[in-house]
């Protein structure tokens, strides 16, 4: 029961789309990460998705494409939402940046880099955003212990 939207993406990018589904009404297309920039600019230019509402990632350790980049798009013209997901392997955790298309992607990508360690090619200023310089590891990865602290100044007592 694929909708018109998912069908359009499928026919336009037959090689890139790995899977499409609509769980609880959220239409989702899983695509190869190499095609992300192409699909995103097609969405923006042709299908009227003018908002990049959210960009985040999820860690599926121990599955093999370990990470998944998740983007939520919204079209204010058609009042429509779409989710794009790209599997990312941990030995090649690099994705192309969406900052040239949406300025708002800048900080979202910095947060994903900070929390998951996924790098973004073409990002103007890829630094940590929430944690500090010298923090080791990426806290939202599943193998980072919840309570592993890295204090900046020595604690008393």
């Amino acid at each position: 029961m694929n909708s018109y939207l998912l069908e359009t993406i499928r026919t336009k990018f037959p090689d890139a789309v790995l899977e499409t589904h609509a769980f609880r009404g959220d239409e989702t297309a899983v695509i190869r990460k190499e095609a992300l920039a192409g699909v995103a600019s097609f969405l923006k230019a042709e299908l009227g998705f003018d908002f990049l509402m959210d960009l985040t990632a999820a860690d599926y350790l121990p599955r093999d494409p370990r990470f998944e980049l998740v983007c939520h798009f919204y079209s204010s013209k058609h009042n429509y939402r779409l989710r794009l997901k790209c599997p990312v392997y941990s030995d090649d955790a690099t994705v192309v940046s969406l900052t040239p298309l949406w300025a708002g992607a800048n900080w979202f990508e910095r947060e994903v880099y900070d929390m998951f360690g996924i790098k973004f090619e073409g990002h103007p200023d890829l630094r940590r955003i929430l944690m500090y310089d010298g923090f080791e590891g990426h806290p939202l990865r599943k193998d980072y212990p919840l309570k592993k602290r890295q204090p900046r100044i020595p604690h008393r007592e």
């Binding site: 212990p145 919840l146 602290r149 604690h155 008393r156």
Partner: protein
């Protein structure tokens, strides 16, 4: 340090204590180190309904050098810890620290990689106000407790650095 040390533990010192402490406890200049949710109750306490000025502590100074009481309001995380330490070090003696809310007191229910488990790991604390966030009544109670603590101090006790 000053003249008072010449008197030692005598009648004159205790009279002086009383006068100095009376002046100090009813004219706190506080430095609000506001970070999180507790700031909302902090605002309420300072505004018209609860009106902390009844206790002589309504005047916030945003320069640590002009403040007597450091209110640490809200969660302090590892990234912010050096800043808190620096603000504390910049304050002149005599100075007191109030830990406002459970996050500043013990980390609260945030027990993870980012948060400091209580600001007493960073700086010494005089009064802890519990609550997540504490209601304004609790804040006023904490302030009165601090006044009681101040009124028991002796000018001889405090180490002036």
């Amino acid at each position: 340090m000053g003249l008072e040390t010449a008197f030692g533990h005598s009648y004159l010192t205790t009279r002086l204590d009383e006068a100095v402490n009376w002046a100090r406890k009813y004219s706190f200049f506080n430095y609000p180190f506001v970070t999180a949710c507790c700031g909302m109750e902090f605002m309420s306490t300072f505004a018209s309904t609860y009106d902390i000025s009844r206790f002589g502590a309504e005047y916030p100074r945003f320069s640590p050098r002009q403040a007597d009481v450091l209110f640490v309001v809200g969660t302090v995380n590892e990234k912010l810890a050096p800043v808190l330490k620096r603000v504390y070090d910049q304050m002149c003696e005599p100075k007191w620290v109030v830990s406002f809310g459970v996050c500043a007191t013990s980390g609260g229910f945030y027990d993870n990689y980012a948060t400091v488990q209580g600001i007493d790991k960073i700086i010494p604390v005089d009064i802890y106000i519990p609550g997540c966030p504490p209601r304004p009544e609790a804040v006023l109670d904490g302030l009165i407790k601090l006044q009681q603590k101040v009124s028991k101090e002796s000018v001889l006790d405090r180490k002036y650095r």
